[in-house]
Amino acid sequence: MSEQVAFQHIEKTSLIGTRIKKPDAPAKAIGKTRYINDMVLPQMLYGKILHAGRTHAEIVSIDTSEAEKLPGVHLVITAQDTPDLKLGFVKDNAPLKDKVRCERDEVAAVAAESEAIAAEALKLIKVTYKDLPPVYTIEDGLKDGAPVIQDRFPDNKSLSFKFTHGDMAAAEQKSDIILDDVFNVHYVTHCCMGTSCAIADFDHNGKLTIYSQTQYPYNYKMDLAPALGIDPGDIRVIQPPTGGSFGAKLDVYPFEPVAAILAQKTGRPVKILFDREEEFINSPTRQPARMHLRTGCTSDGILTFRAADVMMDNGAYTSWGPTVPVIMMRTVSGHYRVPVVDFKGQAVYTNNAYAGSFRGYGNVQMTYATAQHMDMLAEKLAKDHNLDPIEFRLKNAQKSGEVTPQKSFLRECALAECLTTAAEASDYVNKLNKYTAERAQEGRYKRGIGLASSIHNAGGAKIHKSDGCGTILKMDDYARVTVITGASEIGQGIDAVIAQIVAEELGVPTEHVNLVNNDSDLGPWDVGVHASRTTFIAGNGARRAAIKAKKQILAAASKQANVSADELDLRGGFVVQDKDGAVVTKLDKMLRQMHFQPEPDVVMVSDYYEPNSEPEGRDHISDHSAAYSHAVHIAEVLVDTYTGEVKVEKVTMAQDVGRVINRMGLEAQMEGGLAFGLGFALSEEMIFEEGRLKNPSFRDYKLPTAPDMPDLDIHFIESDCAEGPYGAKGIAELPTIVVAPAIANAVYNATGIRFFNPPMTPEKVARAIWEKKQV
């Protein structure tokens, strides 16, 4: 064998841009994967939480004695068992409550030998409440003498945000057109197919092992520890496979410390698993927002200013939801070239549900407004000033090298290319004019086409001081690679991308790269899987680690073969001559030779990659991402004007992805992201009455299913990002962000009606069409 290889030549090929299968897919497809929901530990107890089911009340007394007597019950706890334990973004939340502030509030918890016994025990807990006057709207929360939700915030004002840039009065003066509208974005929720779950287990030294669905295992320890009164160093986080996440698991929520407290006090592992109704009521939502947007423009079609005043219902506690203005304002100041900006954001405590982080993070909300204003301006400028709607957008589209008022540095900007690509592929302008003309004609069915675009961070988001990710890489004597990365896998496919990148650098098959990323005791630091950052940050880290390993191997090979290391390469499991691919030696043999020499040399390298970005400061002026990206969606709809049903028939998507890494995974993110936006636009809505969720089931909360999916025409624009791995940018949120306003603009094109308050359900659309006819 070794004689034959000496004559072999191996051509240089690349895996980048190819289709890589997800390594964990086969086990999932045959039903072998054990998700956290499926796990059972020896001696495990089942925890269940008693939720208040009312929105604002004093807890006068809790009698747990009957529940404690039920055979199979091991422990019942209330807030009295967990004093002064805090969690949440401003530490206004607690594992168990001594006062009720919203429907989901956790009042007591049980650990029992089965779920059925735990559920039975909850019924035996007697709580006496004294209801308090509730607050269900922002307006009521701000009234003088309004009931106070959180004692530390007597005016009910939670987080507030502000950013101004330039001379607003002068900009208004210069404006020939000023649009002034209010957009109301509704409550939606993640609906992960695997419901929320945690399994907690303490050892004899007081160290907690928590099996968790978290997306941010390392900071998670920091957030969980104060809710338990233990040191973060005494927490080990294990992340078994999870049934989706989409931002839902980017914070610690009460059920997790409750499971841990039950485990701590019983000395047994405790599992808490939500049923679907619990999942709907007790999971975070997307942050709803009332966005008052004003946009100015000259008659030449040059944007003069944007002013946004955003009011947010904080709900009763503060998770990531009301922090979304951090991203909203980047859209206000950076979605097209906006010279003058005024942004205000205010969150107000109420007795409603509270929001967390959710794919698109504030930008789904804000782009719904900004992209409709762009469409309204385009229409006006076309009508009054004969300006082509694409030309209008191109005039305002930033170019590479521009810097936004918040100092987002658009190093590589492909907005113009996204616009022209999508417009040409869909024949946008011709169809827009045709459908506008057809709108006035008789007929039940109307067609419409709508364009929307947006900007999003695509190289992480430095909301902490570090936005980095650690990687440890080792190779064994058989040329198998193990990569230990801080990056989490929640179904998105970083497993495939890291295998691909490491295989690319080390010239081994992707199947020979094993990924370890589910245990905080093993993995190096990472901020978490969020902000479309993982391929960019963890991908860069894995690449840098692999390059270090490669250098080490080639240095050893260089000595042995007596050739300079930069004349060597790794390909197809061999060390080869770079210029002609002539085989020097087998890679595994080389590794063994390195190992079994007088001074053994084993390949074990590490890397900590910190992206070239600046922390988000209080003034919000910083280049907070190492890259930014744009996307354009063009939606084509058919509206049944009788029933109000909106059928999205086709979406043309053009997105600056920097560079395609795993083409199949990238497409999958585009398609799945789009489905999220589709549901948000047309059917998904949490309906609250007096703070209580009225539709906590898939029967009444309508997710998109297969027949709802439009035909997709996907265009990847490769702007070749200098900082990204092989030029790639982060991609996963933009597809969700851009599609809803594209649909809204298309529905306008079809019907002449603007929908400022999604979702565009059949009832709402039919009513609006009927009302328009009455005028």
């Binding site: 289709r19 299968k21 997800k22 964990d24 897919a25 086969p26 999932k28 497809a29 045959i30 039903g31 072998k32 994967t33 054990r34 998700y35 929901n37 499926d38 993640h190 609906c191 992960c192 197919m193 695997g194 419901t195 496979p241 999870t242 049934g243 989706g244 996440s245 989409f246 049923d275 679907r276 929640i490 179904g491 998105q492 496919g493 199949m664 995974g665 497409e667 999958a668 398609e671 799945g672 992201g673 789009l674 489905a675 999220f676 589709l678 089931s697 898939f698 029967r699 997710l703 998109p704 299913t705 297969a706 027949p707 999916m709 997709l712």
Partner: protein, 157 residues
């Protein structure tokens, strides 16, 4: 304690004899008593399709069926579609086409897809969409799922 009943049925080609509470669902029997956790709970009311299995050649939501009703029947779960670690062509096609992300809904989706193709080997893409309407997936947007099924029936996009 609830009343129990004795059951005899065929599960993934093997006979099963077991005593179950009369109010136990098939989903719970599979997951809790028989350790077949490939079949998933995601809603418990027949809305999402994550617990889809085949009973006597027809797909059902196992969360809506009483285990007691399995007596004398033949059941196939996701674990019985292929053979051990060897994937059935439908499972392989889902993997090859990138239809699996978090994968939680996939056992139900694959069982349903396989059933649809058995019923109609010339399935069109529109028929696939209709046939998979009862299976919710939150990750994929269904496009790659349809591609995977289309590859099996030889239908193009």
């Amino acid at each position: 304690m609830s009343v129990k009943t004795e059951l005899n049925f065929t599960l993934n080609g093997r006979p099963v004899n077991i005593e179950v509470p009369v109010d136990m669902t098939v989903l719970n029997l599979l997951r809790e008593n028989l350790d077949l956790k490939g079949t998933k709970y995601a809603c418990g009311e027949g809305e999402c399709g994550a617990c889809t299995i085949e009973v006597d050649g027809t797909t059902i939501n196992s969360c809506l069926m009483y285990a007691a009703d399995l007596n004398g029947r033949t059941v196939m779960t996701i674990e019985g579609l292929g053979a051990g670690n060897k994937m059935h062509p439908m499972q392989q096609s889902f993997v090859d086409h990138g239809a699996v992300q978090c994968g939680f809904c996939m056992p139900g989706m694959i069982i349903q897809a396989n059933y649809l193709v058995k019923q109609n080997p010339d399935l069109t893409r529109e028929e696939m969409k209709r046939g998979l309407e009862g299976n919710i997936c939150r990750c994929t947007g269904y496009t790659k799922v349809l591609d995977a099924v289309a590859a099996i029936v030889g239908a193009e996009g």
